[in-house]
């Protein structure tokens, strides 16, 4: 079963600061779709190393959203992309889809 994202880390960091929590949600809602789109574009254009760069950024968001397994997967996938191997693209897209759906709920 796919790991589910959450805001536990963000809420711990906010320590009751609602303004920060809202600010952070705004940022991630803006930044994540752009990065996901950039990733897909590099995959379409068969640019694995450029895709690795954006996976590096995306994996930090997995971390922030408490998705430890997704993060571990992204670490390995980033290495594969650096070697020119995009075979795990579909599994990576599933993670992106999960987060995209989640961001619509917050």
């Amino acid at each position: 079963m796919q790991e589910r994202p959450n805001l536990n880390y963000v809420r711990t960091l906010a320590a009751g600061d609602g303004d920060f929590e809202q600010k952070f949600i705004r940022i991630i809602k803006q930044e994540f779709p752009d990065e996901a789109a950039t990733y897909l574009q590099h995959v379409r254009q068969d640019e694995p190393r450029a895709a690795a760069e954006i996976v590096h950024k995306l994996k930090h968001k997995f971390n922030i959203l408490s998705m430890e397994k997704a993060y571990a997967f992204a670490v390995e996938y980033e290495e594969q992309l650096q070697l020119g191997n995009m075979k795990q693209d579909l599994d990576f897209r599933k993670i992106l889809d999960t987060i995209t759906r989640y961001l619509k709920t917050i």
């Binding site: 930044e31 930090h60 922030i64």
Partner: protein, 234 residues
Amino acid sequence: MTCIIIDDEAAARAVVSQLCEQVPDLDVIEEFDNAIDALKFLNQQNIDVVFLDIHMPGFTGVDFVQTLKNPPKIVLTTSDTNFAIAAYEYEAIVDYLVKPITLERFEKSIQKIKNTAVRPVSKAENVASDTEKDLYINIDRRLIKLKIDDILLIEAKGDYIEVKTDTEDYRVHNTLKSIKEKLPEKTFLQIHRSYIINFTKIIDIEDNSVLIAKNVVPISRSNRPELMRRLNLL
């Protein structure tokens, strides 16, 4: 203490900024999404600590550390634990935080910073140069190293300056006044409001112009006496 945050991800900057807010006496002066803008800022203002992401496109955090001649205390922030060894090769780096950063770990880092004497960087010290013989110029967010001795002349062109060398010309968004401050007075001289020349490169001088390589450069009436004074006239 004052600090700046450098990270190409807005989400990551927001996290570090929030952590800073929870630490007494730590003020975030500015946030940057690239290291080059931060470098420019550090040439204008003294700060105590830099929270620096290593992995940024183009000019990386490591490039940033290597470029600063006398850096303030630096705390690296990254998702990659395998950068840790490289990080401690630089004296200025006092700690290394792996994302996602917890408040507890962040506070330890602040303690580490306080336990080491913070040496603010003076504007004069913080020249982006490895040695006095080099000059770094910012072209399309990359810092390109030029040997000062290779510069023939610099021409002001509106908001830009053109730095001419034997092999290449570089167009830089800067002012003649600013680059003049970085060049050794011994060999560089402003001979016109739009030109600074390396007068060791002069081929010949006519009444109101000098020839440097293939460039004819005008001499203004007011600057001519200083040029003549510096030349080894027979």
